[in-house]
Each structure stands twice: as structure tokens, then as C-alpha cells.
């Protein structure tokens, strides 16, 4: 049940936008497609909605094949029983809020749309604005109308195409919680497309990271954050420092020869070029009068290159062994002053340096 995508291919002319990807969204699961613009995430969503026609592969919704390039099956969007929220909201300006929300029911031929509309507007907290025109609504309100319209017809799946990208930061935080709550209440499978890592991490049961039309990694948000498969995923999710390291005997060294301890779990001994990932929040930053030594900790010294005051803390850029490392501290250190970075070995993870992701297909959900 849910959504099943197998070996989906979409190309425009000679440009392949989606390169044989496969994934599943289980019943009641919230899955996010995350990736930079142009990675094919929106096209994937549009193929599932039936707004784009795939060139290869198959898509099934709740066990029903809606698109199969091999056998030529293509169910038009209006017969797929979807609820979709668009990036631009696509609230029809000539209809009132209630008429917008009633639309999915009306085109199905339902006579009495009142209760369903009232329910849907109630869920998003827009009951009192039912008779307004879209032009009289704020962006956030339009967003909620779009959400109400998507759920009004009790669809089998919910699709979201970057629905929060046009909202301001504060409203985005609130609406994230709202969407999560509604999806869990309705228990329908949901596929959410975004380029915003915060949205992906905070809302999803599972995140699928895409790059250049392929799936790079998929997993629970915390796994992606702590165990990224390569530099791309590590860089895309959260902020990351990368240290150039090389193996010398059984040891790892920085570019200038300083020895460094890395997370032994990540040290699989492969042949691929690797870099060490170091999240800024796992670094302790001190002046040159650093506290006592601990053998289990890495300790590097450098110089403050730049600083940005951010309120809760100051973000520093420190030059260490030829690399620029970002780290946070609440201490006030002037530019040019010496600095000491301290971090645990298990916070320094080796990841593949490969820019091009290894294509991975055929994941079972």
C-alpha cells in the first residue's frame, strides 16, 4: 500500500531529469524528497501526480498501477485520487475559500459538500474565513486553504510541492508543525518535496536525498544527519566542516601532518578518497589558554580568521592546518587571536569525498 515507485525515468529531449529511481512511501508514512534545485525531486512528484508523463518505470498508488511506461498505462491526474499542495498554492482567485475547498468534492459529483468543507476548514483553522476571496487572504492563510482543499476529498495520498517556500520564517515554523499534525491525524501516506533541510529533518519519518536525478541516500532524519554516506549529503543536511585527511600507516593525518583520531566505526578501510566530517556544534572552541589535555580528544590549534555575532553565540572561522573550520563559542575572541579546537574522535567521521553520488536503486520500504 502507499506509493510505490520503480525505476522511474523522465527525460526532456537528451536531458535525463530522473534516472531510474525507486522508493516507497508506506501507509501513513511521511516521506520527504530532499535535494538542491534541478535534482529531479519536483519532477518525481509531478510524475506521481500525473502532471508529467514518465519515460520509463512504473508508479502505483495503493496497489493500483497509475503509470507504467512498459505497458503504456497512464491514469490522468483527476483519476488518481490525490490531494496536492502547490508551491504557489494555486488558490483559484475567482472562487471563495469555501468554493475552493469544495472543488474536489464538487467535481466528484457530491451534492452536499457542506460537512466535508466545514471539517477541512476546521482542521486548518480557517472556518471563520470561509466566505472570503483569496485576494483578501494573507500568504499563510492561502497556504492553509490549499491544505484544506488537498484534504477535503479524503484523498489516498497527499503530495506537497515545496509548500512552505513562499512563507516567511516564523510562519514556516508554525505551518511545519501544522502539516505534520494533520498528516498524522489523517494517516495517509504523504510525499513532501523540499530543498530545505530543516523541513525535511523536522517533519519526515524518512528522508530521500536526491542529486542529479538519482537517490543518494535514504533513511531516518537522525541517521542522515549523523551517518551521511558522502560529502554531498553531509554538506546538504546541516552545516559541515570538511578536513582533508590521509592515511599514514595505521594513523590519519591532516594535510600538514598533524595526527588526528577519527571515528573508528566510519573507518571502513575502503579505497575511495575520503574526508573527515566535523559538525560545528561538536567542536569546543577556546583561546590559547586551553584546559588540560585528554588523550581521547583531538586538539588542534589555529588562528581566528573571521567572526560573526549571531546572538546566542558567535560563529568563528578558524584557520587550522590550512583548512577553514567553522565553530561556535560564547567567548569573545578578536580576529587574529590564537584559538584551540577540541573535539571527540567519534565526532570526526570519515565520509566519501566523491562529488558524483553512487547510484542506488531498488530499495524496499
Amino acid at each position: 500500500m502507499g506509493i510505490t515507485v520503480r525505476n522511474l525515468v523522465k527525460s526532456y529531449g537528451s536531458a535525463t531529469v530522473i534516472n531510474a529511481i525507486s522508493f516507497d512511501v508506506a501507509e501513513g508514512e511521511f516521506v520527504t524528497l530532499l535535494g538542491p534545485s534541478g535534482c529531479g525531486k519536483t519532477t518525481t512528484l509531478r510524475c506521481i501526480a500525473g502532471l508529467d508523463t514518465p519515460n520509463g518505470g512504473a508508479i502505483a498508488i495503493n496497489g493500483r498501477v497509475v503509470s507504467d511506461a512498459g505497458s503504456g498505462v497512464f491514469v490522468p491526474p483527476h483519476q488518481r485520487d490525490l490531494g496536492m499542495v502547490f508551491q504557489s498554492y494555486a488558490i483559484w482567485p475567482h472562487l471563495t475559500v469555501a468554493q475552493n475547498v469544495a472543488f474536489p468534492l464538487m467535481v466528484k459529483g457530491e451534492r452536499d459538500t457542506g460537512p466535508a468543507v466545514a471539517w477541512a476548514l476546521g482542521v486548518v483553522g480557517m472556518t471563520q474565513l470561509a466566505d472570503r476571496r483569496p485576494s483578501e487572504l494573507s500568504g499563510g492563510q492561502q497556504q492553509r486553504v490549499a491544505l484544506a482543499r488537498a484534504i477535503a476529498g479524503r484523498p489516498q495520498v497527499l503530495l506537497f510541492d515545496e509548500p512552505l517556500s513562499n512563507l516567511d520564517a516564523r510562519l514556516r515554523d508554525r505551518t511545519r508543525l501544522e502539516i505534520s499534525r494533520i498528516q498524522r491525524e489523517l494517516k495517509v501516506p504523504a510525499l513532501y518535496v523540499t530543498h530545505d533541510q530543516t523541513e525535511a529533518l523536522s517533519m519526515s519519518d524518512r528522508v530521500i536525498v536526491m542529486e542529479a536525478g538519482t537517490v543518494v541516500q535514504e533513511g531516518r532524519p537522525r541517521d542522515l544527519y549523523h551517518q551521511p554516506v558522502n560529502r554531498f549529503v553531509a554538506d546538504f543536511i546541516g552545516s559541515a566542516n570538511f578536513l582533508d585527511v590521509r592515511r599514514v600507516g595505521r594513523q590519519w593525518q591532516l594535510a600538514d601532518g598533524t595526527p588526528i583520531q577519527v571515528d573508528p566505526v566510519s573507518d571502513a578501510g575502503g579505497t575511495r578518497p575520503q574526508v573527515a566530517l566535523l559538525r560545528p556544534e561538536s567542536i569546543r572552541l577556546d583561546g590559547d589558554t586551553a584546559p588540560e589535555q585528554d588523550a581521547a580528544l583531538n586538539r588542534l590549534t589555529g588562528r581566528v580568521l573571521g567572526r560573526m555575532y549571531l546572538g546566542p553565540h558567535i560563529e568563528y572561522v578558524v584557520e587550522v592546518a590550512g583548512a577553514q573550520i567553522r565553530a561556535f563559542s560564547r567567548r569573545d575572541m578578536p580576529t587574529g587571536s590564537p584559538a584551540t579546537l577540541t573535539f571527540a574522535a567519534h565526532d570526526c567521521r570519515l565520509v566519501d569525498d566523491g562529488a558524483a553520488p553512487a547510484p542506488r536503486t531498488g530499495h524496499a520500504g
Partner: protein, 553 residues
């Protein structure tokens, strides 16, 4: 096949027939040595005759008239647009309204009014001779200068209307940047504003040139008595006055259509290239340039234009319609209502009025629906062959009205379809000729309409047809209304496409006016013109009142 699929095939077929039949008929006709409907032989003589001194001279005259008209109209129209939208001119709204009205002032009525004013027996010469006693100076409108003069008056509003959008839509920061860089208002105009408008200017000039090339009403009324022939009028003369030469007319028509067609193609290319340059969509508020010492010369220019293009012609026609014999001195004149009484009692005139309303009202509806369908296919759905459809829609736009009329005349003399002598043929001619008005207005709207609005309907469970019906059409209504308005006005005024295909029972008001004037019945022609203009104003107000969408032009 789906509903939309069937509709696509139907629309494609209709547009293809409408565009290709007259053109094909012209090609065949140009190779025949007899009039349409008569048996004749194949010949190349018509094409050979294009090189005859008469035709070559006509071609040169046509180019001279159209070129000079375009040059003058561009300068005056652009100047007016800049004055109205870029300076502290006092009456921008009133001036815009006046230019809008004169845009709808039919060209052949304007020509008639100026003949009454400027012909050897007309107003100016009467005043010179009888009132001022001057014998040595006289004016004669019948000539190349007269034609160009009236055509410039007629074309200025078009230039203004095409230039005002680009001028108003220009991002003000470009101009402001030039001012902060030290440019005076005039230097800014010359070095920034006009160069940035160059695409729009070139595009407007090409369209203006096309309109001047195919202009029929003005050169036929002023040129024929003055023995000045342009290609459009020569086609008419060859078909209407013995010895007729329909084949030569067809060859000339195709030549003229080729010239205008190339100009239209160029214009389309320019318009496409220019879109990226200036339009930012940010209609900015800009500090108006102070007119200063230029204020009164500018006011005078505006007043003079309104007087010559609108007020004076209307007053003269009203006056002429109310007197028995023409005299410039109203105190000498014998006033009468006989022209209006005649109109009231004449069955033929009543039929012409009724025909005009049917053709304009009903034909515009057909046109706007067909145009909207074409645009939906070419802009949104893009099925196989949509580019061909787009070309077929544009093809007749490059064909002058008189040439289209001739093509239809040839076609329906041969084709076993009983269309000749019906109002349907007139509607067919008008819709064919003006379909791009409808496709452009509807298409512009469809392009603007965010795709997701329609997609949201599909994902919400609406089929394609249902999405069009419930979402696209309601959201495009204002543009469709404005397209209807444009078509109605164009159909109401049209004469060049009608003049060769009307019959006694399918005469329209424009033809009645023209033929009364041809019979030297200035009074009746003027009365009919006044009637036509009153009717037009009434319908205009009615449409604008009933269709708010048509107001935003």
C-alpha cells in the same frame, strides 16, 4: 478520442480552411485569364503584367505613401505617448480618452470628412474664396499629400496605443540611474529612454507600415478622384471597372500580401526578441519631466491633433448631414432633416444596420470563441501540430482586407458551397482577418495564468475539460471580453474585406456609407456616418458597461 481532442481537430480544420482557401484561390486565380466563375485558360500573363509600368508606378506610390505615413505617425504617436506618460502634461486622462476614441474612428469616414473640408469645392476653399476673398490660394486634398495627411491622422492613435505599454512598463530605475549619472531630461530621453524602446518602436513601426500598406478606405476615397493609385485600390479598380482583370488583381494581391507578410514575420521576431529587454513588469512611478517652456507648444500640438482627427471631422459630418446643399457658411445654409428621414424610411439602410449588428455582434462571438480555443491549444495544451495552427492563425493577418475579399470571391465562385451572397461569408471574412486579435488577447492571458491553477484542478479530481470550463475560462473572462470588444469594433468598421463580396441583401453600414459618398450624396453619407458613430458609441458604452473586462485596454 477525448472531447478536447475532437475540438482540436475541428478547430484545426476550420482555421486551416479559413486561411488556406482564399490564398489558394488567389494563386489559382492569378493563373487564369478570366473572371471568377467563367471558363478561361491557364496563363502566366498576369504575373508578367506585374512588371508593366502602371503596376510598378503603383507599387512605388504605395511604398511612398506607406513609408511617409509610418514615419510621421511614429514621430507624432511616440511624442504623444512620451508627453502623456513621461511629462507633467496637465490632461493625460482626457488625452488618452481622445486618442482611444480616434482609434475607433473609421478610416473611410475620416477620409470623407476631410474631403468635405479640403476638396476643391470643400470648406477650406469656400472660406478662402467667399469669406476671405482670396482667389490665388487654394487647397486640394485629392493627391498623395492629402492621402498621407489623413492616413497619419488615422494611424497616430495606433502608434500611441502600441507605444504606451512599453513606455509605462519600463523599469524607472534605468532612467533614474541616468539622471543620477548626470543626464538632463532630454539627454536621458535620447540616450536611455528611446534606445531602450527601440524594439517596441521597430515593432510598432512595422505594424503601422503593414496597416498603411493595406489601407483601403482612405486611398480609395481620396486617391481615385485624384488619380493616385495604391496597390489596394488598384485591386479594387481592376475588379470593379471594365475592362476588369481579376487575374491581374489576384497577382497584385499576392504581391501585396507577400510584402505585408514579410513585415509581419519581422515584427513577430522583433516582438519576441524585445520582450526580454525592457519588460520587468514593475510599472514604476517616475518623476515626470517638467515641460517648462514647452508646455504651450505641446498643449497646442495635442489640441490640434484632437481637433483634426476627431472634433472637426465629427462636426463637419454633422453639419453636412443637416444641410441641403453644401456651403461653408452656416448662415447661407438651408437646414433639413431629409437625410435622416431618408435613413429612417429606407428599407435598404435598415437592413444594412441590422446586418452590421448581426455580423459584428454574432461574428465577434464566433471569433473570440475560436480564438480562445486556438490559444488554449497553442499556449497550453500544445498537441501535435500546434505550431502549424499558430501559423495558420497568423497567415491571414498578413493578407490585406481587399486581397482577402478577392480571394474569397475567387474561392466561392468555384467551390460548390452556397456561401456567396450570405452574411456567413462576410462573417467568415471578418473572423479570418481579425482572428489574431482574439488569439493574442486570450493567449496573453493564458500565458499569465499560472499553470498550477489548472494543475490544481486536475489533482483535485477535475478532468481537462472540466478544468478549462471551471478554472481557465472564468479566470480568462476579462481578456475574452476585451477580445470581443476589439473584434466587435473591428467588424463594425471594416470595409476593405467587404467591398468585393457584399451583395444587395448582405450590405453593411460601412458599405452603405461608402456607396452614398461615391454617388456624391455627401449629405446622406454624412447622416449615415453620424448614425454609425452614434451606434458605435452606444454599443461601446453598452459593452463597456456589461463587460468590465473590456475596460482594461
Amino acid at each position: 478520442m477525448s472531447v478536447l481532442g475532437t475540438l482540436y481537430v475541428a478547430v484545426f480544420t476550420a482555421v486551416a480552411l479559413m486561411a488556406l482557401i482564399p490564398v489558394a484561390a488567389l494563386v489559382l486565380g492569378s493563373l487564369r485569364d478570366a473572371a471568377p466563375g467563367l471558363t478561361g485558360r491557364w496563363t502566366l500573363a498576369n504575373w508578367a503584367n506585374l512588371a508593366s509600368p502602371g503596376v510598378v508606378e503603383t507599387l512605388l506610390t504605395t511604398i511612398e505613401v506607406a513609408g511617409l505615413t509610418t514615419a510621421f505617425a511614429m514621430v507624432i504617436g511616440t511624442a504623444l505617448a512620451l508627453v502623456i506618460h513621461r511629462t507633467d502634461f496637465r490632461w493625460p486622462t482626457a488625452m488618452t480618452a481622445m486618442l482611444g476614441l480616434s482609434f475607433y474612428f473609421p478610416s473611410f469616414i475620416l477620409a470623407m470628412a476631410w474631403i468635405v473640408i479640403g476638396s476643391p469645392g470643400g470648406l477650406i476653399n469656400d472660406v478662402l474664396r467667399d469669406v476671405l476673398g482670396i482667389e490665388s490660394v487654394s487647397v486640394d486634398i485629392y493627391g498623395v499629400t492629402g492621402i498621407i495627411f489623413v492616413m497619419v491622422l488615422h494611424q497616430v492613435p495606433f502608434v500611441y496605443l502600441t507605444m504606451r505599454g512599453p513606455i509605462m512598463g519600463m523599469d524607472p530605475s534605468y532612467e533614474e540611474a541616468s539622471r543620477t549619472a548626470g543626464a538632463s531630461p532630454l539627454a536621458m530621453l535620447r540616450r536611455v529612454t528611446l534606445p531602450m524602446l527601440s524594439y517596441a518602436l521597430a515593432s510598432s513601426a512595422l505594424l503601422c507600415l503593414v496597416m498603411a500598406l493595406e489601407q483601403f478606405g482612405i486611398p480609395v476615397l481620396i486617391g481615385v478622384p485624384g488619380r493616385v493609385t495604391v496597390l489596394a485600390t488598384q485591386i479594387y479598380l481592376l475588379c470593379r471597372f471594365p475592362p476588369t482583370a481579376y487575374g491581374l488583381a489576384a497577382a497584385i494581391g499576392l504581391t501585396l500580401a507577400a510584402i505585408t507578410g514579410v513585415a509581419i514575420l519581422l515584427q513577430r521576431r522583433l516582438a519576441r526578441g524585445g520582450r526580454a529587454v525592457v519588460t520587468t513588469g514593475k510599472a514604476g512611478r517616475i518623476t515626470p519631466i517638467p515641460l517648462g517652456a514647452w508646455r504651450w507648444p505641446v498643449n497646442l500640438l495635442c489640441g490640434l491633433y484632437v481637433a483634426m482627427a476627431l472634433v472637426l471631422p465629427s462636426l463637419i459630418l454633422l453639419y453636412t448631414s443637416l444641410i441641403k446643399f453644401f456651403t461653408a457658411n452656416p448662415f447661407d445654409a438651408a437646414f433639413t432633416l431629409r437625410n435622416y428621414i431618408y435613413v429612417w424610411e429606407s428599407e435598404a439602410t435598415q437592413r444594412a444596420i441590422l446586418n452590421t449588428l448581426i455580423v459584428s455582434g454574432g461574428g465577434a462571438l464566433v471569433g473570440v470563441l475560436l480564438g480562445a480555443a486556438c490559444s488554449y491549444f497553442t499556449v497550453r495544451l500544445r498537441p501535435t501540430g500546434y505550431r502549424v495552427l499558430d501559423m495558420l492563425v497568423m497567415l491571414p493577418f498578413g493578407v490585406p482586407g481587399i486581397v482577402l475579399g478577392l480571394g474569397l470571391l475567387w474561392a466561392y465562385a468555384y467551390l460548390p458551397v452556397p456561401l456567396y451572397g450570405t452574411l456567413t461569408l462576410i462573417v467568415l471574412a471578418y473572423v479570418t482577418r481579425f482572428l489574431p486579435y482574439a488569439t493574442e488577447t486570450a493567449g496573453a492571458r493564458f500565458v499569465q495564468l499560472d499553470r498550477s491553477l489548472e494543475e490544481a484542478a486536475w489533482t483535485a479530481g477535475a478532468s481537462r475539460q472540466s478544468g478549462v470550463w471551471r478554472i481557465v475560462l472564468p479566470l480568462s473572462l476579462p481578456s475574452l471580453q476585451s477580445g470581443y470588444f476589439l473584434l466587435f469594433m473591428a467588424f463594425f468598421r471594416e470595409i476593405s474585406a467587404t467591398i468585393l463580396i457584399f451583395t444587395a441583401s448582405t450590405s453593411v453600414l460601412s458599405v452603405s456609407i461608402w456607396s452614398s459618398f461615391e454617388q456624391a450624396n455627401w449629405g446622406l453619407a454624412s447622416a449615415l456616418s453620424i448614425l454609425a458613430m452614434v451606434l458605435m458609441l452606444a454599443v461601446m458604452s453598452l459593452l463597456l458597461w456589461a463587460m468590465p473586462g473590456a475596460r482594461t485596454r
